[in-house]
Symmetry: none
Subunit: 253 residues, 2 copies
């Protein structure tokens, strides 16, 4: 950890606070919005709500850890000696990535034979992806970070490749309006998940230590808001469109 | 930040505390009142509840930051050196202004073709309005504050102008009782939103630094209570009147 200017410190601090607010607001939304979609799609929304609730908790901890890691000295934020706990994110991902996979599989509503074994394979890949990424996160040295990052990318690419294929294969069986949304969610998946490895690589870009700390924290926070809260809203739209198409929408007068 | 008298400090403190109470009470109200209007209008009330929940969270943080920014010395409140974090408001507006726009569009229940693209345009304008206002908020110097304030006013006026027009155009298609409410909400929109730029300009009025700090904090808090909590209550009245008119009111015994 290095000294940060007041502006750099506050930028990260306010991004964390923003993330907390975004996560709990989407928690309330997902819980309440369950009654607005068909019975069949409610589990997907419930899982969305768990994902953002877990993330909200972790961002509270992350913000507190960030506050404790610095002391304000002569207008600058100086490391206090207390380490900033990066592990919160990895613990969060251990819980939320498998849930995000379940959520996506749930809303696809694939036939049983296509679902079988799918979650198991993806969950193992997710576990490897997170566990292999963590050792690299603990260092800002380029070589070990690059090695662990590359190892972690193998299961990462595998997950995206499988999901991309499944989402593509499921497209034809979806109602027309849901098809457009599914194509969008497929792109969003690629875009938001792609945000993580780019953020991971920040310290390798030859930028200053300060910019790299700030960039990594803000990058992950934005990626988490997109991949969890915004992703959940997309899942809600799909669930709504599918409920409309299969007539399971709660009665409206 | 300047020294404040005990009276000035407590006036701001108690206004923040009042705002927290108003926000969480209206959160409970909006969540519970959903079941009292037709299905079609429930999303509008749900969004009202998100807006005040997010604001409640931020006012907790704002109150804590206010407390930390001063120390009581010889009966006077002296800046402690910890900065008062103005950014909470701006982060709050980033999340709540788009939601307020969705809420208003949702309760208007415009035909699909009139809705299309409307939210996108307004959301971009809202983003510009907030981002351009912030740099001016960080200073009490008149010139930069006036420049950023003026720039921020352009998208601000645009949003109000579009909403005023849409609300006016939607009037004729509303049931009679809702028409009166819509006219009121249109005035309330102008009145409460107009409160923000006036508050923003306080430091330019040639009043003392103390009065200007106190005025800005109290002004924004009152504007937030009106534009979020009271506005949500108006939305509820409209939703109720429209449910009554279209027969979607839940059965009463």
């Amino acid at each position: 950890m290095t000294n940060l200017s007041s502006m750099q410190y506050m930028l990260v601090y306010n991004t964390f606070s923003f993330t907390i607010a975004a996560m709990f607001a989407s928690f309330i939304f997902f819980i309440a919005a369950r009654s607005q979609v068909g019975e069949k799609y409610r589990p997907a929304l419930l899982i969305s709500s768990l994902v953002v609730a877990i993330a909200c908790y972790h961002y509270f901890r992350i913000l507190n850890s960030w506050e404790a890691a610095f002391t304000l000295t002569n207008g600058e934020y100086v490391p206090s000696g207390k380490p900033f706990n990066d592990a919160y994110r990895y613990v969060d991902w251990m819980l939320t990535v498998p849930l995000l996979l379940v959520e996506l599989i749930a809303v696809l509503a694939l036939p049983k034979k296509d679902r079988e074994g799918l979650f198991g394979k993806l969950a193992i890949a997710a576990f490897l992806m997170i566990v292999l990424g963590y050792p690299g996160e603990l260092t800002t040295e380029i070589v070990p970070r690059a090695i662990w990052g590359t190892l972690s990318s193998i299961p990462f690419v595998y997950i995206l490749w499988v999901l991309w294929g499944k989402l593509g294969a499921a497209l034809s069986s979806q109602p027309p309006h849901a098809q457009v949304l599914m194509k969008n969610i497929r792109l969003l998946l690629l875009f938001t998940w792609g945000f993580y490895p780019i953020t991971y690589m920040f310290p390798m870009f030859g930028i200053s230590a300060q910019s790299s700390v700030v960039g990594v924290q803000i990058g992950y926070a934005i990626a988490d808001v997109l991949a969890k809260a915004f992703y959940g809203v997309m899942i809600y739209w799909i669930a709504f469109a599918k409920s409309e198409a299969d007539g399971s929408l709660p009665a409206r007068h």
